[in-house]
């Protein structure tokens, strides 16, 4: 898979490699707070394969999506707990 796509991370447009997961795109752009726990502490991916639910973010308006299970597409909008 070659080429880059444009996605919007917390309001800022970013270029990422096509075919990567949302989790990879976020980590490569320095996002380490995917979500926040009940005490506002940041959380980031643990299992990387969809079972721990720590990487939940909002993708294209849909909340609670697992960033590790979704591949980026051009124009995708992602909101994290940044």
């Amino acid at each position: 898979m070659t080429g880059v796509v444009s996605i919007v991370i917390d309001g800022t447009t970013r270029e990422v490699a096509a075919g990567v997961t949302v989790a990879a795109a976020l980590l490569d752009h320095g996002v380490m707070a995917f979500r926040r726990d009940l005490h506002d502490a940041p959380r980031a991916p643990l299992c990387g394969m969809g079972s721990c639910m720590e990487c939940r973010v909002t993708i294209d308006g849909r909340a609670e999506r697992r960033a590790c299970l979704v591949v980026v597409v051009d124009g995708m909008r992602i909101e994290t707990a940044g």
């Binding site: 980590l27 490569d28 380490m32 959380r43 643990l46 639910m53 609670e64 979704v70």
Partner: protein, 447 residues
């Protein structure tokens, strides 16, 4: 809300080696086959990939076989409920669907066992396989300082993958004692392929120490990981790093099998020589029946797929049975050599979070008399992951038996769950309606 229905002869849950092999075998026997997987691409954990060209010969050939046999692969899709062995409710990006099937093959794989230690919720702390999954998903670890702490062959394979990807691997800590590791190696390396793999892996991270009898006792940092505390036979030391990959082996993923009422033994799905579970019409293959590696998973999948397609027992070839037995023997050797040391089971401090979804600390669970009481008091294990992470941790810490499994599995959207309760508008297969008391809107989805 109406629910779409799809009718197939064989439904396979999990698109790793076992699931793909089962699907191909059943489709080649003339059955209509559907494979469901929650990942964006087929391949499972071991063959997770961004583009097929990066895969080896075996996975590429199997994916080609699956395609030419006419198997439908439904990725990005999670099984939410199994109303019966013949009816699954699944949720994908486009909503929910009912899968009506004659035969069901479970190839749900395994996940990592995480044992809580102080600091394990910090961003930058992931699993050993977790880091590999993130790497395969496209995350760059180039120049990042990584400590790996875990056990068994996976630890070495991930170390090699990270080193190949340009990570600055600082330390690889194997919890098992040196004698056990070398004992395992002497047996395993009588197989030339395994010896070649092991040498290639160790060569890839040749500049990094691989220390046995070593494990991580704590992680520290403010908003992300800064350093970890590593215990070795020489004492405890602090190691600076950007990432920690830490896990305590693998646990079979058996929730769907449990929901269907399949007999489970030693936390794995029990199968007979044809990979048949205790429930009629349900077969199981691969790591959910016990961790044993991809070669055996392929063989089990092939056997299960043929059986689910209605093949007679005599059709199981000797080569498949041999591959399966080899894998089971290897799995048993891994279990014995890399059994977990007692110290790992009890690293959590009173204020360490045990249940990451519901932020439940150890000292909140400690006073409870029973798992049920702990759940009622604290919601431990009742969050988004439904105990996938803290279940094995609570088994280790408190000796709790495996979680009772109830639908829905995972964390479906309310819409999906509501749809499950609503009869389909179209005539056709029976509706997946559960009895009303099963779901109480004032309670969590399961206890």
């Amino acid at each position: 809300m109406s629910v779409r229905c799809r009718e197939v002869d064989v439904a396979v849950v999990g698109a790793g080696p076992a699931g793909l092999a089962a699907a191909a075998a059943a489709a080649e026997a003339g059955r209509r086959v559907l494979v469901i997987d929650q990942s964006p691409r087929a391949g499972g954990q071991i063959w997770r990939h961004r583009d097929e060209g990066s895969l080896g010969r075996v996975p590429r050939a199997l994916l080609a076989r699956v395609a030419s046999a006419g198997v439908t692969v439904l990725t990005g899709t999670t099984v939410v409920d199994a109303v019966s062995p013949r009816q699954l409710l699944v949720e994908g990006v486009d909503g929910v669907e009912v899968i009506d099937t004659t035969a069901l093959v479970l190839a749900t794989g395994a996940r990592e066992r995480f044992l809580p230690f102080p600091g394990w919720t910090l961003p930058g702390v992931a699993g050993v396989g977790g880091l590999q999954a993130l790497l395969k998903g496209g995350t760059s670890f180039r120049g990042k300082r990584v400590v790996l702490a875990g056990t068994g062959p996976l630890l070495v394979a991930v170390a090699a993958a990270l080193a190949d990807a340009g990570a600055r691997l600082v330390l690889v800590a194997e919890q098992a004692p040196w004698r056990r590791v070398t004992g395992f190696a002497l047996h395993a390396f009588t197989n030339a392929g395994r010896l070649r793999d092991a040498l290639r892996y160790r060569w890839a991270f040749a500049r990094t120490p691989y220390v046995t009898d070593a494990w991580v006792t704590a992680a520290d940092g403010d908003t992300r990981l800064r350093d970890v505390e590593v215990r070795t036979s020489r004492g405890t030391r602090t190691v600076d790093c950007d990432w920690l990959g830490c896990a305590a082996g693998l646990v079979p993923t058996i929730e769907l099998a449990q929901l269907l009422g399949c007999t489970v033994e030693r936390d794995r799905v029990r199968v007979d020589s044809m990979q048949s579970t205790s429930v009629t019409g349900v077969w199981a293959a691969g790591e959910c029946t016990g961790v044993k590696g991809d070669a055996a998973a392929l063989a089990e999948g092939e056997i299960a797929g043929r059986a689910a397609a209605g093949d007679t027992p005599g059709a199981t070839s000797a080569a498949l049975v041999r591959a399966r037995d080899d894998g089971r023997l290897l799995g048993a050797r891994i279990d014995a050599a890399f059994s977990l040391r007692a110290e790992l089971l009890n690293l959590a401090a009173p204020d360490t979070i045990i249940c990451r979804c519901e932020d439940v600390r150890r000292d909140a669970i400690d006073p409870a008399w029973t798992p049920r009481q702990a759940k009622l008091w604290t919601r431990v294990g009742m969050g988004a992951c439904q105990g996938a992470v803290c279940g094995p941790a609570c088994s280790a810490l408190f000796g709790w038996a495996a979680n009772t499994v109830r639908a829905p599995l995972g964390a479906p959207s309310c819409g999906a769950w509501q749809a499950a309760l609503t009869p389909p508008a179209l005539p056709g297969p029976p509706s997946p309606v559960r009895q009303a008391p099963e779901v109480d809107p004032h309670q969590g989805p399961a206890d």
